[in-house]
């Protein structure tokens, strides 16, 4: 985990002092809302449908137990006893009061957390593979690079008023769990002739105009990361459109100018500014010393083997919720924050404290938040897993559904978000409840369902195997379905199946899709996404729109 330096601590204290004064000036009437809004957004504070919302950054999704305990404390003291983990590895509080925000930020600062640049047209929280530092397939831990980017981008004077928001994701593995191809900049670590570097992807994004990012540099030496990132954002800041909010993201710039022209401009800027970054190597080396990898003790695995053999509930959970750790006697635990029928990503303060306790007791004090809105215990000795599982079950956190139909990404939607055009949470709740009632999801196997409540696509619907987009059609909630999206290194944008469904129709429609897949798959080994690629949309459309198929046949 990264530990704060004195500089970091002093910086946060000063920033919070400034914002406390800004809040006071707003309340006293010395700042208008128009003046205050950009200031509050820079500090993660939104005004949503029913209340303010504070978005707290969890840099590259990494937390320690003290930080998780602090998140629980905020939920109890200043919110309604829960928090919402988001698709950008942040946590959102849905009910804070304006007066309380400065105290909340001061409390967060005590454990090195903040809400800086979680909104606004700036470089946002840098996200990373949620298995970072633990995955068996990892080339190197991507988080020191993510932290380097965070330090560089925080309060960067040139990049506080970009044409639009800017999101960077970093992966240290060839298997992309960080959706790098759907970010403004995606960094994928790779090895070339024995040396580690990044494949740099630019211009990906979801939203109203979904685009898969393009490779701007196939191999960037690790030491060139900062000047190259600065060159990209510099070119974007200059060339990105400011005339139309919907065309202001870098993906539109790359699309309009072409990747070749953008690459030439970036390389030119990179060559010019690189000498100014002579100290970046030293900074990175310092950061690396502040990331203390846990000293994993070799352990027996007997308790795990016995429980796996004897306890079917444990076995089901182990089969879905564990991932291979770089040490064979350890495992990565994904704790599902998707209990059937519950709000995806919502954890109560009591659950957060259980997770913090488990991290302390069994997990080398480390936790991660995934963009799929689950919580990870990245380093757990296999022999401790039965105890961890029992504790999770007791806290309502033992759901064995990671990667299955009920492990749904859903944005807050119109239940909270001022931008939303329809609800997403209850759709996710109802799909999960339905597949559980039918005992369907283990038969269906790995499946990514992702739901957004508006075109901005915070729920990543474009890259869901099944994507659901909630819209307002003539004053009625309407849900469009896309099929064939993929969030991995084989990134793809899903295609619309046809007319949308009403709120009442959407869950039965998804059920028909799943049943159609079970009917047409070649074997249990053929995954949903593979079946879609093999047979195309037609059989799924027939299941979704049975009366139309009948009419066509007639």
């Amino acid at each position: 985990m990264y530990t704060y330096s004195e500089f970091d601590t002093a910086f946060l204290a000063e920033r919070n002092r400034q914002f406390r004064a800004q809040v006071a000036r707003r309340i006293s009437g010395n700042l208008t809302e128009d003046e205050f809004k950009p200031l509050r957004l820079m500090n993660g504070l939104y005004l949503q449908l029913h209340a303010y919302m504070l978005r707290v950054a969890i840099p590259y999704g990494s937390l320690n137990s003290a930080q998780m305990d602090k998140l629980a404390e905020l939920a109890d003291r200043w919110d309604k006893g829960y928090g919402h983990f988001t698709t950008r590895q942040n946590i959102q509080y849905n009910w804070p009061k304006l007066n309380d925000i400065p105290d909340m930020l001061d409390a967060l600062a005590k454990v090195g957390l903040h809400a800086i640049q979680t909104s606004g047209n700036t470089i946002r929280n840098v996200t990373a593979d949620h298995f970072a530092g633990a995955a068996a397939d990892e080339l190197a831990d991507p988080r020191p690079y993510a932290e380097l980017l965070r330090q560089w981008s925080t309060d960067h004077p040139e990049f506080q008023f970009l044409p639009r928001k800017f999101k960077i994701a970093v992966s240290g593995s060839p298997n992309d769990r960080a959706v790098t191809k759907a970010h403004d900049i995606g960094l994928r670590m790779r090895r070339k002739e024995g040396e580690l570097g990044f494949e740099v992807i630019v211009g990906g994004g979801l939203g109203r105009t979904p685009m898969i990012g393009k490779v701007i540099r196939d191999f960037l030496p690790l030491s060139d990361l900062l000047p190259y990132a600065e060159a990209i954002v510099h070119v974007y800041n200059r060339l990105g459109r400011r005339d139309n909010k919907y065309k202001a993201r870098i993906k539109i710039m790359v699309h309009e100018h072409g990747i070749e022209d953008v690459r030439a401009l970036v390389e030119e800027a990179f060559t010019r500014i690189k000498p100014e970054f002579a100290g970046a190597d030293t900074l990175l080396a310092q950061i690396k010393t502040r990331f203390r990898a846990p000293d994993l003790r070799p352990r027996e695995t007997q308790a795990f083997d016995t429980a796996y053999r004897r306890d079917p509930v444990f076995r089901a959970w182990a089969d879905t919720n564990l991932a291979p750790h770089r040490k064979a006697d350890h495992a990565i635990v994904t704790v599902s924050i998707k209990a059937h029928g519950q709000t995806p990503g919502d954890a109560t303060s009591a659950q957060m404290r259980v997770l913090a306790d488990l991290a302390r007791k069994y997990g080398y004090d480390e936790l991660r938040i995934s963009h799929e809105q689950n919580v990870i215990l990245p380093h757990v000795a296999k022999t401790d897993l039965p105890a961890v599982h029992a504790a999770l079950l007791a806290a309502g956190l033992g759901t064995a559904n990671v990667g299955l139909a009920s492990d749904i990404i859903a944005c807050p939607g119109m239940d909270y978000c001022a931008l939303a055009t329809a609800r997403s949470i209850p759709v996710a709740q109802d799909i999960a409840t339905r597949v559980e009632a039918l005992r369907l999801e283990h038969a269906v196997g790995p499946l990514k369902i992702k739901i957004s409540g508006c075109i901005n696509a915070c729920g990543h619907h474009h890259v869901g195997h099944i994507g659901i987009l909630g819209l307002d059609r003539g004053g009625v909630e309407t849900y469009q379905i896309t099929l064939g999206g993929d969030a991995t290194e084989a990134a793809a944008i899903g295609q619309r199946t046809g007319p949308g469904f009403s709120y009442e129709e959407i869950v039965p429609a998804i059920e028909r899709l799943l049943k159609a897949y079970l009917d047409l798959r070649e074997s249990e080994d053929e995954l949903f996404i593979d079946a879609v690629q093999r047979v195309g949309h037609a059989p799924f459309k027939a299941a979704l729109y049975p009366t139309e198929a009948h009419a066509d046949a007639a």
């Binding site: 009437g29 449908l49 029913h50 304006l98 919502d346 004053g475």
Partner: protein, 101 residues
């Protein structure tokens, strides 16, 4: 086809609490939609909106929302977004619905 004209309420969010508020006949703000003044006349609605916006603001984001007159004479939201604003989220009994029960 011209859109059907609906009576309006003046609505916003409270500066301190963030809660949805509605303008009352007395020119104050209430968190209860039933206390809102329902304005039938479009010109009067614009006037009320301008008046609310001209006051020292303890509310944020003032606008006119379409309503219908309910059986008991109180405003009823036309659009589902306003219905959620008037009650709260659908996943928990939080927000206004908590107080209404």
């Amino acid at each position: 086809m011209p859109r059907k004209h609906h009576p309006k309420v003046v609505t916003a969010n409270d500066l301190l609490e963030g809660d949805v508020v509605y303008r009352t006949a007395a020119g104050s703000w209430s968190s209860d939609l039933r206390a809102a003044v329902l304005i039938e006349d479009p010109e009067q609605a614009s006037t009320e909106l301008a008046l609310a916006q001209s006051e020292p603001a303890m509310v944020v984001g003032i606008y006119l929302a379409d309503m219908e007159r309910g059986p008991d004479g109180t405003p009823q939201p036309v659009h589902f977004r306003e219905a959620f604003r008037a009650t709260g989220p659908s996943n928990y009994a939080h927000g206004k619905q908590a107080g209404l029960r």
